[in-house]
């Protein structure tokens, strides 16, 4: 049998590694990393290569299913896509007739390349924006402060390949797989210093020069403490700060109180270590900071922590130099009004934007462009401020995604919600509650494109195999659904035409499908701009061509009036997490441990793939990290089933006892949920017995004040050994 070699991109997570898929007769025989990929250089992971199993698994959803019993009862009838799409389109028209478009909410999980088409579909229905993507707990709380302070719509500007000091802050190794070799080479050949900052001693810390372990949720204070030392000891580039920044004196005055001693008391990091870190960052430049979800997302102080992060980035300037903070205009999530149908001047903060609780959380409306998720589930139940009648979840297992899962379940089970559709790979807990379930194709089965991570490059993403059964990718789904609602807005024949139209629209490159698929790697104009340095001097960071940055003052803004207009202080003031040993000592009496949830494992992506044997084998059971000393005091031994409880709920997990997590802190990885895996004879564990989000609070007074970020990384909990510990 002929073996064929197909090159594409794995879009299974944000790493976007180039992939080579060897196939025989539409079966996958082997998957490798693409050594020629100018982005990932051959890196790959264990999770990605199990696509072979996913592609051929007979338990996968491959046909649209219509509910025939009661909701959640598990009785289904197979139907055609035509019938499924008629149901969807018919229900949209019905809800608009009886209520209005805003009573329909389309949600998604992490994009498998379809962000902007999802927005187009929502616009076709009559809802501009992101619907109910979980942007309050994704990377937007990183991107927004980068916009406010640095005028950069990026989640970071790290250039690890050229840095002398590399700061890996709240990032797991799994997120750095395509770039880790560069870090290693920079360490070996240039003597670069690596500083790892994370409550968890993760694998990146194994060979770090410095490891700092902050109390979860206090990163905002650590940024201020580092700036205190750098300013006091005058370790910054005075000329750069004078010429290109705004509000330095105010910042310097504000951080005065954040002495190493005070910072140490707040963050639980020894003062000497904070001083050493500050001197290393400011001494061996260029310094690059690589933040992920840890420091400034998923906390009640998310946005201000992100502001503090970006102020430190600027203080370590000059920026836009190799090995420092690099501006990549044109990189990042690409989009345009012609594609999303969102007018350029659309005001998401206006009442007519119809975003649930957009008025209460103006920063989320402005930068998240979405309905506040908790408020949306609440609106299902109360029908206030308006009723929600239809929800569609695309690659989004809501019961394992949003905070306060019992609230989500209550909403999904409510008769107020007339129609639920779920598009996914397997029958997830959320899909089990649906009225219509739609089968999804996986990354090797899609003809698509996504340039979000490639810093201006296009790396083409043609299918390696045809999807099984009637699995459709999200582009085709949006196209066929959209066409039934308004054919003029969806004129394309198929997703290949959509890809080519999009490449021309966004990058001005005209290609045939074969040219796109076989050309593999394309440079866009953004690559050329991105490769230039100190672009703020040449005017290439601003559309008006003036020197400076894309901020109101044209300078990097330590002091930000826009931030103030969104409901925060204009300086990056530190606020304790809303639930912590410091801010709620009375809660801490019963729940004395700081809880951080959702760190990434090498298997799984969010809640997906727990049934895939190659991945599940590595993490068979839901587990929790506890420090050796705490475990001894609690009488907990390795492998014991323990109960983790919060003021909201209690779940169980198996204990892993070590120094991976510090004393006083409990860490739960994502996901807790496990789907049964018959190949390994491992049981499933349902969201309500092991789901980490059940422990978290939701709603008013529990989140970031203006961005509605839920505190997935910093709340309080208690832990105890379960009596019958072998269950």
């Amino acid at each position: 049998m002929q073996t064929e070699r197909k090159r594409t991109v794995c879009t299974g997570c944000h790493c976007r590694c180039g992939a080579v898929v060897y196939t025989q007769d539409n079966e996958i025989v082997r998957i490798e990393g693409d050594a020629d990929s100018p982005y990932s250089h051959g890196a790959f992971c264990g999770s990605g290569i199990t696509e072979r199993f996913v592609h051929s698994d007979d338990e996968r959803l491959t046909v649209p299913l219509k509910r025939v019993g009661e909701r959640g009862e598990g009785k289904w009838e197979e139907i055609s896509w035509d019938e499924a799409l008629e149901m969807l389109a018919g229900k949209v028209r019905d809800v608009i007739d009886r209520y209005s478009a805003r009573s329909i909410v389309v949600a998604q999980g992490t994009s498998r390349t379809s962000n902007d088409w999802g927005q187009r579909l929502k616009a076709t229905i009559g809802n501009l924006g992101w619907g109910m993507a979980p942007l309050h707990v994704c990377l937007i709380p990183n991107i927004m402060p980068h916009v406010l302070t640095l005028g950069a719509g990026q989640m970071h500007g790290a250039d690890v390949a050229h840095a002398k000091t590399i700061v890996l802050w709240g990032v797991s190794a799994i997120n750095l797989l395509p770039e880790y070799k560069e870090i290693l080479r920079q360490k070996d050949e240039a003597g670069a210093k690596v500083i790892v900052i994370d409550p968890r001693f993760n694998d990146l810390a194994n060979n770090a020069d410095l490891y700092l372990r902050p109390r979860p949720g206090t990163d905002g204070a650590l940024f201020l403490g580092l700036m205190n030392i750098i300013i006091k000891e005058q370790l910054y580039d005075k000329e750069f700060i004078d010429s290109w920044t705004y509000g330095f004196d105010e910042l310097a005055e504000m951080v005065l109180e954040w002495t190493p001693e005070k910072t140490s008391e707040t963050t639980w990091i020894p003062a000497e270590l904070i001083e050493e870190a500050a001197r290393t960052m400011a001494g061996e430049k260029p310094t690059t900071i690589y933040p992920m979800l840890g420091p400034s997302c998923m906390h009640t102080n998310a946005i201000q922590s992100g502001r503090a992060l970006t102020c430190l980035t600027a203080l370590l300037g000059p920026v836009d130099v190799p090995g420092g903070f690099m501006y990549t205009p044109g990189g990042g999530p690409a989009s345009s009004p012609e594609l999303t149908l969102i007018p350029p001047d659309w005001n998401f903060n206006a009442p007519e934007a119809n975003l649930l609780d957009g008025d209460k959380y103006p920063a989320f409306a402005a930068f998240g462009n979405a309905n506040v998720p908790y408020s949306t589930f609440d609106a299902v139940l109360t029908e206030q401020p308006w009723p929600i009648k239809m929800m569609v979840f695309v690659a989004n297992d809501a019961l394992n995604c949003y905070e306060a899962s019992p609230k989500v379940f209550e909403a999904l089970a409510s008769p107020n919600l007339e129609f639920i559709a779920v598009k996914d790979f397997y029958l997830t807990p959320t899909a089990k509650m649906a009225d219509l379930v739609l089968p999804s194709s996986s990354w090797s089965e899609r003809d698509t494109i996504d340039e979000e991570m490639f810093k201006g490059l296009i790396i083409s993403n043609p299918r390696a195999v045809d999807p099984p059964g009637q699995c459709w990718d999200d582009w085709k789904f949006y196209l066929e659904w959209g066409r039934r609602l308004n054919p003029e807005l969806w004129p394309w024949a198929d997703e290949k035409e959509m890809v080519l139209w999009r490449v021309k629209l966004l990058h001005g490159i005209e290609l045939t499908w074969d040219e796109y698929a076989e050309g593999a790697y394309f440079e866009t104009d953004a690559c050329k701009v991105g490769a230039e340095f100190k672009k703020y001097e040449s005017g290439k960071l601003r559309p008006d061509g003036q020197p400076g940055f894309m901020t109101p003052s044209g300078r990097i803004e330590f002091f930000s009036h826009v931030t103030e207009s969104l409901g925060y202080e204009p300086l990056p003031v530190y606020h304790e997490p809303l639930e912590s040993p410091v801010s709620t000592p009375e809660v801490a009496k019963d729940y004395p441990f700081v809880l951080t949830t959702g760190f990434r494992l090498y298997s799984f992506f969010h809640s997906a793939w727990t049934n895939v044997p190659g991945q599940r084998e590595l993490y068979p059971y839901p587990f929790v990290l506890i420090n050796t000393k705490d475990a001894a005091e609690k009488g907990i031994f390795e492998g014991d089933w323990v109960e983790i409880s919060s003021p909201r709920a209690a779940i169980k997990a198996k204990a892993q006892v070590s120094e991976e997590i510090g004393a006083g802190v409990i860490a739960l990885p994502r996901p807790g949920w496990r789907q049964a895996c018959k190949q390994l004879n491992l049981p499933g564990y349902n969201w309500d017995e092991v789901g980490i989000n059940t422990l978290l609070p939701g709603g008013p007074g529990t989140t970031d004040k203006s961005f509605s970020t839920a505190p997935m990384r910093s709340t309080l909990c208690q832990i105890k050994r379960l009596e019958n510990s072998d269950v």
């Binding site: 082997r30 998957i31 490798e32 990393g33 051959g42 890196a43 790959f44 992971c45 264990g46 999770s47 290569i49 199990t50 072979r52 190794a173 799994i174 797989l177 395509p178 880790y180 070799k181 290693l184 070996d188 001693f201 694998d203 990146l204 810390a205 194994n206 060979n207 490891y211 090498y602 298997s603 044997p613 190659g614 991945q615 084998e617 590595l618 892993q656 070590s658 120094e659 991976e660 190949q679 390994l680």
Partner: protein, 112 residues
């Protein structure tokens, strides 16, 4: 002349313990789920001289590694490794590779 001895080499300070090699061995060789030919032993962070340290270890069945060397492509565990820290080959080549920077774990299949 006897056949050269073969083995497996890991640069332990480059290994993240991501276990892609373990998954790769299963994918490459398709053995039963009740079997395991290669295991990445993830060690736990521990205290040494008051500091936390960690590294991970590979535990292959070396006869199976020798079998993988005879295929028409490089062993998938070595290709999939994001840091390229794992090598399978003849003893001489592995000893040569160990001259580079790093800490190393070498396992050689002896004659029996």
């Amino acid at each position: 002349m006897s056949k050269p001895r073969t083995g497996l080499l890991v640069r332990t300070d480059a290994c993240l313990g991501c276990m892609a090699c373990q998954v790769a061995c299963r994918e490459e060789n398709g053995f039963a789920y009740s079997e395991k030919w290669f295991e990445m032993i993830r060690q736990k962070p521990k205290t040494v001289d008051g500091e936390i340290r960690n590294y991970h270890l590979a535990a292959p069945q070396l006869d199976k590694c020798a079998f993988c060397m005879e295929k028409d492509h490089r062993p998938l565990c070595t290709v999939v490794c994001p840091t390229r820290c794992i090598h399978i080959g003849n003893e001489d080549a592995l000893l040569e590779a160990m001259q580079g920077k790093g800490d190393w774990q070498l396992m050689i299949k002896g004659d029996r």
